[in-house]
């Protein structure tokens, strides 16, 4: 057991859901939708994956159900944020609180239990272990691969160009025949897909769903988006940085005896400090949070 390698592994595990949510956040925010709802996509993805796997007995189907659940939540979010003049910030917060309560309600009504779904059976967990590639879950490698993919999509594809244009100036995009509503809905759905995959990872990694499982990772992902100045590579860098920080704090705890509130506060202190230090060219998309059609 070599410590540096452990740290790399732990960082990758911590990074997987954070990275996916961060990339989702980048896509959504670059299209102009402030995405405070990432936390709810993670929760929906995790709940769907746990319940779906338990129900179908298949990991693939379970993961698909997790993604579908996240997509449904993202679709609701997208419609509220694009078809109405709703405030993005409040819509995101309300969605998070709603889905948090809804997953608990679903736990109670399906599994009659307080905090967590039943665990996946051994057979499933063994299949999960067998599916690992170089010691990591396939979703981890997907998350890493998604970074260049998202960067390339934004920079080099037509949908990417349109997404950026709508995030900056929806009126102009509309006048060129690009539907701003459509672009934003698709961007939020893409965010739902990526972040939902992060939620699937959370559930499959632990082997069950438990309430509040996202644990603020959605909020932290949004911080990564902003700290990374809305760019995929730098935002992903921020996510990896936070993951490393968390992994370090976890490893240190076994050795020394720090009270766990101190490491818990660290990411937010770092966020505030880094945010305050961002100056000059850190400009959000010009139409971020601006409702359409007014």
């Amino acid at each position: 057991m070599s410590a540096p390698l452990d740290l790399v592994d732990a960082t990758l595990r911590e990074a997987t859901p954070l990275l996916l949510a961060t990339l989702g956040g980048v896509l959504s925010e670059r299209s102009g939708v402030i995405n405070l709802g990432l936390e709810s996509y993670l929760l929906a993805g995790a709940f769907g994956a746990a319940a779906g796997t338990l129900f179908t007995g298949s990991l693939v189907l379970g993961a698909a159900i997790g993604l579908a659940a996240a997509l449904v939540v993202a679709l609701l979010h997208a419609l509220v944020c694009t078809r109405t003049r709703a405030d993005h910030v409040v819509a995101g917060v309300a969605l998070n609180l709603l889905i948090d309560a809804a997953t608990i309600a679903a736990l109670v009504s399906i599994y009659h239990t307080k905090g967590a779904s039943p665990p996946l059976g051994d057979a499933l967990m063994e299949r999960l272990a067998a599916a690992k590639i170089l010691g990591h879950a396939p979703i981890t490698w997907l998350a890493l691969g998604a970074v260049p993919l998202v960067a390339w999509t934004l920079a080099r594809t037509k949908p990417g160009l349109r997404l950026r244009a709508v995030g900056e100036n929806p009126a102009c995009a509309e006048s060129l025949g690009v539907s701003a509503v459509r672009v934003r809905v698709l961007a939020v759905l893409a965010a739902g897909l990526l972040t939902g995959l992060g939620g699937v990872y959370l559930a499959l990694d632990v082997g069950s769903f438990s309430k509040h499982m996202a644990g603020g990772r959605g909020y932290l992902a949004l911080a990564c988006v902003v700290i990374g100045k809305w760019r995929p590579w730098t935002a992903a860098g921020a996510a990896l940085g936070f993951a490393l920080l968390t992994a370090l704090a976890n490893q240190l705890q076994v050795v020394t005896h720090v009270p766990d509130e101190i490491p818990r506060m660290l990411p937010y202190v770092v966020t505030l400090v880094v945010l305050s230090g961002i100056v000059g060219r850190a400009r959000p998309p010009a139409a971020l949070g601006e409702p359409l059609g007014g």
């Binding site: 080099r156 594809t157 037509k158 349109r162 244009a165 009126a171 102009c172 060129l176 025949g177 010009a286």
Partner: protein
């Protein structure tokens, strides 16, 4: 000695030398024109004098003594006030609140709204300005908003008034009113600086003209003793002996765009466009005049597809456009230069090339299966930048870094490169200098000569009459009449614009 003076002022932005060793003065009671090409430094100079910018070197002197201006408030306290090209107003607040902000009347922390309204009303009455102090600024038209800007300066007792392109957005009557006010202020001992791209305005009101060229003073002339050619030469130098002629087109061809009884909903249940009918023929530039808010904007938006129509028909070469969305209309041959290029026209954070290909039909070849082919996009940008003389000639620069005039060139390049059948253009030369304006006019004529049609909406009547084959005049959402260039054309348009004259 009384007067406002700058001595040896230098200002650089990064690599750009906006002003170099500029000296300039305006005496009390004098109206000075400040003219020059786009980017010559006029706005920068005014912003320095009014405290918005600090010079790298040089002094500002008011009535003979040097002043240190740490902000607009300092400038106001020594009697200098500026009216910006883009108004600095708060639409949500009332006229009175906008005017008194920062020096509100009332005891202690109380804001006495009645006193504010009285103060504003008194000041407005004194200068013959027509405003309602309790109106919300956002509900006012451009001309009224400008009066609020003027009031902000006048209430603070300005002795020097700096006006940056104040006529650019105004209809002719409002320009006349503004000039009357300016003359009156001068006669009461106020010094006025007027920035404009329209030389005839300099001849109309100014006593003296100072010409800036690439950040330096290239000359100062007594207006009475100069002519347009002389001032133009000072502005442009030997770059061009005479602006390119924009000759009138030949006989026009078949009807391209037919609009019949088009009606568009407006605010408060009124029709913004009310049963308007018009035709644009091949080879023709049709002007569209009217007081701002008469429905020109909504008409163009309805034709381009950005806004939906309530009733009527629109046909391009016999094909009905109304069922089509924006993309389909563009594919069918409609191009559109919106009035507000920053808000509706360009995405300023994207590069020149990206703006050029944004929304382009897939068959244009930038994209295969949705992936953008970078080289082709870049080449497209390079070509447009060269063909339209965009400066700096960098296709990968973000549009935000271009000057307003150059942004307009990019916008026009995008709309023309799809070889449209009909171009809808709102104020395509607004804010452009002499040369750039002439270039835009020439492009419109080229399009017409190649068999296209142009619908050109504008408020500058001489420009419209100079460029267009005929001018339609809008009033209250309808087409009030048609005027062809010729004697008394301006007067006839002016009459139709204000609701006078027979309806056709």
């Amino acid at each position: 000695m009384s007067g406002l003076e700058v001595r040896g002022v230098t200002k650089t932005f990064g690599q750009t030398h906006a002003l170099e060793d500029v000296s300039f003065r305006v005496a009390r009671g004098e109206i000075v024109g400040l003219i020059g090409e786009n980017g010559a430094g006029k706005t920068t100079l005014l912003r320095i004098v009014s405290g918005f910018l600090r010079p790298d070197a040089g002094d500002v002197l008011v009535d003979g003594s040097a002043v240190r201006l740490r902000g607009p408030r300092d400038a106001a306290s020594v009697g200098v006030g500026m009216v910006h090209q883009h108004f600095l107003l708060i639409p949500e607040l009332t006229v009175a609140e906008n005017v008194v902000l920062g020096r509100e009347p009332g005891r202690g922390a109380l804001f006495d709204r009645g006193a504010a309204a009285r103060e504003v009303r008194a000041c407005a009455a004194r200068f013959g300005l027509d405003v309602d102090p309790t109106a919300r600024v956002g509900d006012l038209g451009v001309a009224a908003q400008q009066r609020v800007e003027l009031l902000k300066v006048l209430v603070r007792g300005a002795r020097y008034l700096l006006l940056d392109e104040p006529t650019g957005l105004l209809p002719p009557m409002a320009v006349r009113d503004l000039f009357a006010l300016v003359r009156r202020l001068a006669s009461e001992g106020c010094g006025v600086v007027l920035v404009t791209h329209r030389l005839r305005e300099v001849f109309a009101v100014c006593g003296r003209a100072t010409v800036l060229r690439r950040g330096r003073v290239s000359g100062e002339r007594d207006v009475a003793a100069s002519d347009e050619a002389g001032l133009a030469h000072l502005m442009i130098g030997d770059d061009l002996a005479s602006p390119p002629a924009t000759g009138r087109g030949g006989p026009c061809g078949a009807p391209l765009l037919r609009v019949a009884s088009l009606t568009v909903a407006g605010r408060g249940g009124r029709a913004a466009v009310d049963a308007a009918s018009l035709t644009v023929h091949a080879g023709e530039i049709v002007g569209l005049a009217g007081v701002a808010g008469s429905g020109q904007r909504e008409l163009l938006e309805a034709l381009s597809g950005v806004r939906s129509a309530v009733a009527g028909t629109v046909a391009l070469c016999g094909v009905s456009l109304l069922p089509m969305d924006v993309a389909a209309r563009r594919a069918a041959g409609i191009a559109y230069v919106p009035e507000d290029r920053l808000h509706d026209g360009l995405v300023s954070a994207l590069t020149v090339s990206e703006n050029l290909v944004l929304g382009a039909a897939p068959d244009r070849g930038f994209a295969s299966r949705g992936w953008l082919v970078r080289e082709r996009v870049h080449r497209e940008g390079e070509q447009a930048v060269a063909a339209h003389d965009v400066r700096p000639a960098d296709a990968d620069a973000p549009c935000a870094s271009l000057s307003g005039g150059n942004q307009q060139k990019v916008l026009l390049a995008r709309e023309l490169r799809s070889r449209p059948k009909v171009l809808l253009a709102a104020e395509p030369a607004r804010g452009l200098d002499l040369l750039a304006t002439a270039a835009v006019h020439a492009r419109l004529r080229d399009l017409a000569d190649a068999g296209g049609g142009v619908l050109f909406a504008g408020t500058d009547l001489p420009e419209l009459l100079d460029v267009c084959d005929r001018v339609l005049v809008m009033f209250a959402g309808g087409i009030a009449g048609e005027v062809r260039p010729g004697r008394d054309a301006e007067e006839r348009i002016g009459l139709l614009m204000t609701g006078g004259g027979p309806r056709p």
